[in-house]
């Protein structure tokens, strides 16, 4: 068992954060090694140190037994290390071939040599089971194929070690299986693979060894065969994790949200929602399961007035809001947690206080004849900070200085403090550590118990399963089926997520008469 990569006592700090604390790691040739940990455990930082994106303050990196200095990506690539980042590093308007040869010297400098690149790409694709058309612009490719391009990029540069950062986040369960097959094939050809993930099942399914990280330190490295999911979970979190928050059964209330035949287009003008129909009642959580990119964003935006509906109807508490503005919908006591708190959820340079009143600032009592009522606002803000346990030095602190969890609390406070009738929550726990995640889920269940109807859109199937009363599966803009959450068959849901099974009849797109 030859050693390929060894990390010794790696230490990397950022302002205020010790991301990697004396980390040791050893990767062998031909193995699939999972790097497991929660969000913020330091896994990506560690790999970025290996790939040259960051430089550790202390520690050594040994490649094939020799100490090496990796100062930039080019050094890592030269050694034979390739990395597929969580957010793809592909230039959308360029073709596959152009993306792959980017940064490499051409045989006919300075002219581009796309022809031989295309030939080599086809050969590599055949050899490793990753077929791709070299001439297509990357933006036209589906996400799973884009990932293939990223892997080919590394193979093209003769990678011996391939690092994959959360590769399955954007794949259907079926695509995940394909990826695992490819990875096993790669190891048979002699490559080693480091696989960063926070999903336990994947670790058990494909890796040879697992290194668990927590709070910047390595907890333990074990053989996958010698452990199980529960043990790994405990190592990841350091305590027992209660995934299921108890929900009392509630009597069926009246319908709060009624969606019929909803259709909408994506930013590119293609149909993104193709005739969705569902309803949500008071005091229930309807979870929308599905792989990212199947219409979740468009659904949330269409329901909140941020995206025009091209067909169908949406009614909130009996009022038709199909073509209403975001303001009008909000005034019907609808709350919205956007999926990206940093870009669309908060105004980062505004203070915590200003963000907290971000929706209510123009209504009484905060506004009187156009003027902001400062004392009333201050009282409200102080109360909200206390009630939601928002950790901030003061209300005037800019929101960008808060941690992810506290930022999300600001969003929650802003949305929930008026006891909404309907809450649309998109990816509410994305990027949060386990403490913040538990908090957000508790708040949502509490709102549900108090009578709020909740639409939960999440790409984390486990979250949808544990929080929802009913589950709808979204695939390519259609609802494949709606099932009760208790006793749900995960396998069946997985099939629906991949479009391989359908419980509802396909609704024809209702085109609106102009």
């Amino acid at each position: 068992m030859t050693e390929l990569l060894r990390l010794e006592k790696i230490r990397k700090t950022f302002p205020g954060v010790l991301a990697n604390d004396d980390v040791d790691l050893e990767i062998r040739k031909g193995e699939i090694h999972a790097l497991l940990g929660e969000n913020g455990a330091g896994k990506t930082t560690l790999m970025n140190c290996v790939y040259g994106v960051y430089r550790p303050e202390r520690g050594h990196i040994l490649w094939k037994g020799q100490p090496v200095e990796i100062h930039q990506a080019r050094d890592a690539i030269a050694l034979g290390i390739g990395m597929v980042h969580q957010h793809f590093m592909l230039v959308p308007p360029l073709t596959v071939a152009e993306n792959v040869i980017l940064g490499l010297p051409s045989a006919r400098e300075p002219l581009l040599d796309l022809r031989s690149a295309a030939i080599r790409l086809r050969d590599l694709g055949k050899q490793y089971g990753l077929p791709v058309d070299p001439g297509i612009p990357v933006w036209q490719l589906p996400v799973g194929v884009q990932q293939r391009v990223e892997i080919l990029k590394a193979l093209y540069r003769n990678a011996e070690l391939l690092i994959l950062d959360e590769p399955t986040a954007v794949l259907t369960p079926g695509e995940v299986e394909d990826l695992f097959k490819v990875l096993k094939g790669l190891t048979q050809e002699g490559l080693s693979i480091i696989f960063i993930t926070h999903k336990l099942e994947e670790v058990m399914a494909v890796s040879d060894r697992v290194t668990v990280m927590r709070n910047g330190r390595v907890v333990q490295t074990v053989n996958a065969a010698a452990t199980n999911a529960n043990e790994l979970a405990k190592m990841m979190v350091g305590r027992e994790v209660f995934l299921n928050i108890p929900k009392p059964a509630l009597p069926a209330g009246e319908v709060v949200l009624a969606v019929t035949g909803l259709a909408a287009q994506s930013d590119r003008g293609l149909p993104a929602l193709k005739g969705l129909s569902f309803e949500i009642r008071r005091g229930e959580i309807l979870g929308i399961a599905g792989v990212d990119g199947n219409g979740q964003t468009e659904l949330a935006e269409a329901l909140t007035g941020l995206r025009p509906a091209t067909g169908g109807t949406v009614a909130v508490s009996g009022h038709d809001v199909t073509h209403a503005s975001p303001r009008e919908i909000m005034d019907l006591n609808v709350a919205f947690i956007p999926p990206d708190r940093q870009h669309t959820g908060l105004l980062l340079t505004f203070s915590v206080g200003e963000n907290l009143i971000g929706k209510e600032f123009c209504r009484p009592p905060f506004s009187k004849r156009g003027f902001l009522q400062e004392r009333l606002i201050r009282d409200f803000v102080t109360g909200a900070i206390q009630n939601y346990d928002i950790r901030t030095p003061e209300a005037a602190t800019p929101a960008k200085l808060l941690s992810g969890g506290n930022q999300q609390k600001v969003v929650l406070a802003r949305e929930l403090s008026r006891r909404p009738d309907l809450l649309i929550a998109a990816q509410p726990t994305r990027g949060l550590d386990i403490g913040a995640t538990e908090y957000v889920r508790q708040q949502m269940v509490a709102a549900r118990n108090a009578g709020t109807a909740i639409l939960l859109i999440s790409t984390e199937l486990e979250e949808v399963l544990s929080l929802s009363d009913r589950i709808a599966v979204l695939y390519e803009g259609e609802i494949m089926g709606i099932v009760p959450a208790s006793g749900a068959d995960v396998h069946e849901i997985g099939l629906m997520m991949a479009g391989a099974k359908r419980l509802t009849s396909a609704a024809p797109a209702v085109e609106e008469a102009a």
Partner: protein
């Protein structure tokens, strides 16, 4: 009156003038295009042109040769471009704002330098218009004798030939060379470029140097190519028009080329109409090219989409 205007379009000389008037725009716009594709906002071309104009005159005067003037103009353009590069790329300041600041500085600096060299230390405004060696027309052998195309394309000042060549050259560099690939990647997704080992900062600096050279030459064309002297603020917004041409052409060499021609056409037209002494007020004519540009922008260009990384400083994110 309409007849007289139509008559203008029939002369060969008119089209030669169109090319000539479009040249400074074409030089600057082609120079700026590469930097723009690399994600830098080249709003500062106005200042580069102005400094190139004054440097052209000063260099020509000091060395007694036009080529000295052109060389100094390039140096001046590079210097301004480096100032912009430092502000925008290294410091990461807002690119439009930095460009505006530099443009204002160029107005003052160019006048001051001109006064320094030509006014001889007595603080007065330069009284006489100084004549310096300037560019002379170069007729291309053989091609220059062609009917129609000859006078239009092949009987011009040398810088005109350079400008015309730049369009296909820039296209070729952008789409057929490794440099062009790097430039495009840096402008659309600098992080991706960074992860494959491309030095984003260096690409931006180098493209800005090219912008400085070309904009400097464009300015020199105005001073020693056409007017034979320097006037305060002589670029008169042409640097901004060159920037507009880049947007108008949607950052494609061919489109940018057409954009500069459009403005050159409108400019040549309004000058000819002025000479006709028709009833149209002179100010309308001067405003005409700007109006045409605005209307064409609104009607045909629509919402422009800048290169994805345009205007944003590149920083390795410390997550």
């Amino acid at each position: 009156m309409l007849e007289q205007i139509i008559q203008i379009f029939v002369t060969v000389e008119f089209y030669a003038a169109v090319i000539r008037l479009a040249t400074p725009l074409l030089l600057a716009a082609m120079g700026g295009l590469l930097a723009e594709r690399a994600g830098v906002v080249t709003f500062g071309m106005e200042g580069m042109m102005l400094m190139g104009a004054v440097a052209g005159v000063i260099g020509s005067y000091l060395t007694g040769s036009v080529w000295g003037g052109l060389a100094l103009a390039m140096v001046a353009g590079i210097a301004m471009a480096m100032a912009l590069a430092f502000m925008a790329v290294t410091i990461g300041a807002n690119q439009v704002v930095s460009a505006v600041a530099l443009n204002i500085g160029a107005v003052g600096l160019s006048s001051t330098l001109y006064a320094l060299v030509f006014a001889g230390g007595n603080g007065d405004v330069v009284q006489t218009v100084v004549k310096v060696p300037s560019l002379s027309v170069f007729k291309v052998p053989l091609l220059g004798d062609l009917p129609i195309l000859g006078p239009i394309l092949f009987n011009q000042l040398p810088l005109v030939y350079l400008a015309l060549l730049m369009a296909p050259v820039v296209w070729f560099v952008l789409y057929r060379t490794t440099w062009g690939l790097k430039i495009r990647a840096v402008g659309e997704h600098p992080h991706a470029a960074d992860t494959v080992g491309i030095n984003v900062v260096r690409v931006r600096y180098l493209t800005l140097i090219f912008t400085g050279i070309m904009a400097g030459l464009a300015g020199a064309f105005l001073s020693i190519g056409q007017l034979n002297t320097f006037q305060e603020n002589m670029s008169a917004g042409r640097g901004f028009i060159a920037y507009t041409a880049i947007v108008f052409g949607k950052w494609e060499p061919l489109g940018v080329f057409l954009g500069t021609l459009l403005f050159g056409l409108a400019d040549a037209l309004q000058l000819r109409i002025q000479a006709l002494n028709l009833a149209i007020p002179y100010q309308f004519l001067v405003a005409f090219p700007y109006l045409v540009t605005l209307i064409v922008l609104i009607l045909f260009v629509g919402k422009a989409t800048w290169p994805a990384a345009s205007g944003a400083p590149f920083k390795r994110e410390d997550k």
